[in-house]
Symmetry: C2
Subunit: 139 residues, 2 copies
Amino acid sequence: MPFEIHPQLLADCHVLGRVGSCHILLNGHAAVPWMIVVPETKTTDYLDLPAAERETVGEICAAVARFIKSHWQLEKTNFAGLGNVVPQLHLHVIGRKPTDPCWPGPIWGFLPAKTPYTEQEVTDIVAGLQTDLPGFQTD
Amino acid sequence: MPFEIHPQLLADCHVLGRVGSCHILLNGHAAVPWMIVVPETKTTDYLDLPAAERETVGEICAAVARFIKSHWQLEKTNFAGLGNVVPQLHLHVIGRKPTDPCWPGPIWGFLPAKTPYTEQEVTDIVAGLQTDLPGFQTD
């Protein structure tokens, strides 16, 4: 049975592509640069992944963090695996800066009303990933 | 100059001991089992750690997650490196269950008034770590 991204993630995010067996999503809230990495696994907690798999996924998340810092010219990312609402493993990589609407708090539960990305912004992010994220390919 | 744990972490947490160069802290909010891993590094973002160091720290966090699941009989942990308030790198490993006061939301910003641990509870947690967390030693 092919892997399917959880419907709640599909509802909340733009699916941009993949690196290996990790899907790369962009949360639709444009107030903060918020990407989500979804590895094709049945493990639900990041810290329960076998070490080699955790390292592969961690390396992809680290590359996504570098991309976010470069594309949005930021110095800071937050990283989290929560999964209390959507049990499917998904890792949050979120660019932060002192002028974003949630700073210095976390973003979950504190974002203002959703401001969506424009089509052009999403196109530019995908183009950036194709240039700057090693191994990235659109689905 | 010796490494010093950030004063805000010292104010919020019990310092329990260490595994290698990672300090193991217990956040004082007893409403959720919330441990904090503080690696001795100047890097502030988890995803900016060199791969080998990220893997070492990740392995210690994974062992802490196993300990939390075992000690509190839980099936789920949340994992995060935020650091917007306290820039010193510290990793949150938090045991979660559907009956905790923040479920299914994240805990940051949503905890009720602080309920502290008893001295006996802290003693029992340290004893558990000494038995069950590989490499754990009190400072």
